[in-house]
């Protein structure tokens, strides 16, 4: 897709992305964050070329997902600087011999913090419990994207007394 110019860069996020660093946890879909080229002469981004590309290769559209290789995949165009940085600084890994890009653990935590659902908070706690994040790198990302206050609230709610 990158070679075909359909997307610029991508990174797997969400539960599947977190699985690179944590024990596998049940999930029904794959979240892929993408930077897509803008339409010439327009500020709009379109996922249509991406869907057309995958449909031509056997993908089927189901609600907000496109099913590829048995996985419902949700393509999420990056919405802010944090997500763009998470894609740009993603980590290369291999799945069955294919190079695959996954968000760094610190970016996964920062994105989960901004999403803020219960399951995102649980995932952040898993990263902390399993010592899977670099604290300095996380703090630097949180500072850069003005998430320090949100992180403090998270710490008060979930982490106070954890080391007692």
């Amino acid at each position: 897709m990158q070679a075909g110019g359909v997307i610029e860069k991508y990174a797997i996020g969400g539960a599947v992305g977190a699985t690179l660093y944590l024990e596998p946890a049940a999930t029904l879909d794959v979240d892929i964050f993408v930077t897509v080229p803008t339409i010439p002469g327009s500020l709009l981004l379109s996922l249509a070329p991406l869907y057309d590309y995958l449909k031509a290769r056997g993908g089927t559209v189901k609600d907000e997902h496109i099913v590829v290789g048995g996985w419902p995949v949700q393509f999420l165009p990056t919405r802010n600087e944090l997500e763009r940085e998470a894609v740009a600084e993603s980590v290369a890994t291999e799945v069955e011999g294919v190079i695959t890009w996954v968000m760094s653990p610190e970016h996964l935590v920062a994105v989960a913090l901004t999403t803020g659902r219960s399951k995102d908070h649980i995932r952040i706690l898993q990263f902390i419990e399993q010592d899977a994040v670099d604290g300095n790198r996380l703090r630097s990302i949180l500072d850069r994207h003005e998430l320090t206050q949100k992180w403090k609230q998270f710490e008060i709610k979930y982490l106070e007394g954890i080391n007692e």
Binding site: T19, E23, L28
Partner: protein, 55 residues
């Protein structure tokens, strides 16, 4: 093997191996959802809770 050791062992698997486990977990979740077992057990739990709060 303790639960913690098991979690560490699972976390240290390669991404390819983990993806295979994710596929199994996903298929199991879908099978459970399709069988209605989850709805039934949630309904049973609700009935039980109602019964104990009345009793």
């Amino acid at each position: 093997m303790s639960k913690q050791e098991m979690r560490k062992r699972l976390a240290s698997l390669s991404f390819s191996e983990k993806v295979k486990i994710l596929e199994k977990l996903r298929d199991r979740s879908l099978a459970l959802a399709a069988s209605g077992l989850r709805r039934k057990s949630a309904g049973d739990a609700r009935k039980k809770a109602n019964k104990s709060s009345k009793g």
